[in-house]
Symmetry: C2
Subunit: 233 residues, 2 copies
Amino acid sequence: MHNYKYIAMIPARLGSKRIPKKNIRYLLDKPLIQYPIELALSSNRFSGIWVNTESQELGQAAMKLGAQFHRRPASLATDTATNRDFTYEFLQNHPCDYVIMLNTTSPLLRQDTMNRFLDYIDENQFDTVLSVIAEKEETFFQGRPLNFSLTEKVNSQLLEPTEAVVWAMTAWKRASFMEMQEAGINPVFGGRLGRFAIPKDEACDLDTEEDWNIAEGIMTARQQHSERRYMEL
Amino acid sequence: MHNYKYIAMIPARLGSKRIPKKNIRYLLDKPLIQYPIELALSSNRFSGIWVNTESQELGQAAMKLGAQFHRRPASLATDTATNRDFTYEFLQNHPCDYVIMLNTTSPLLRQDTMNRFLDYIDENQFDTVLSVIAEKEETFFQGRPLNFSLTEKVNSQLLEPTEAVVWAMTAWKRASFMEMQEAGINPVFGGRLGRFAIPKDEACDLDTEEDWNIAEGIMTARQQHSERRYMEL
């Protein structure tokens, strides 16, 4: 068990593309930016909780919600700027053992899952930790069966899972990330790599309007657990 | 364009295991069994819509909802009975070109998607057609990157998708299925195989209580499209 120093970084451009201004758009009763800020605040594991944005207005709104404001250069907030570049610029300014990138587009993430993610990092020595969804389903890749055989049907519980990266939470060891970036190596999947499986209903990534509806639906369903009712036969 | 004769088969045991009696449990305002029956009825493409169950009571309830009742032998309704066996027994009794298996556990399937699935079959000469979810996400399999490289990060739109089989709808050509089964060959993925991608929000498979919450949530969100509201900056 290490006692790493963690800081949270919440990237939040004001000029998002597919869903315009999504970071300030309400998802049910809160703007999207508020979800990861409250999640990080509700934990006592972070030495700092920073919203990384090019926008003075969004930065000030984030401060009202309890976060700190890291103003990213406008050149790192274009559609072509990569997360390795803005993360590197952020890490130059904020010492820590690990930075935990929390995305506003994953508002369904639970406190308990985030704490288990941090425990997993504490218990290991990773350079990068990704959050993934593990799925045990018959899967094709390039038109061919990946984890099953066409000649037999087995219980899906026995299938080897695929693990899809979901970007809800990503951890990078600061020293390794900076070293790789400075050496011209891509640090995003760099070094000793950990994969942490999160529950499927916490993974919704808000890429499209359809995703927005799904997320609102899941969140509503969590709040109003319905009783079990059955048809009479 | 063929004009195949389609019949719908809705398998529905009363004694489900993971979620007890799920087929008669209410999902919002309707029992689960009602969703595929109404979906099939609302189309004019089926020569018959059959609920395939071992239960006299469930069969009669299905008839009240507008379906026909195929009573499956009790020996084909145990936990170890396979869908190839009960589908074969069903096909022995019901002539058609294709049987379309609609699962009660996919209540989010839309009419339009089902019709496009039938069009896809009409336009081809498949023995088996599976419904799949295509996902463009960085995916690991057996601990190794499947469709991406650790040394570069590309836009996820450029990734080759994985396609996971979801069992929302499955089509089998009756003649081929019966021939394979009688020859001792597994017909479930047999012969000329088609894969039909359905939208992600229609794919929820009700395996667990968590899935149940997600499905209720998505369905609620579909009914009450929320207006877009933004935080003031």
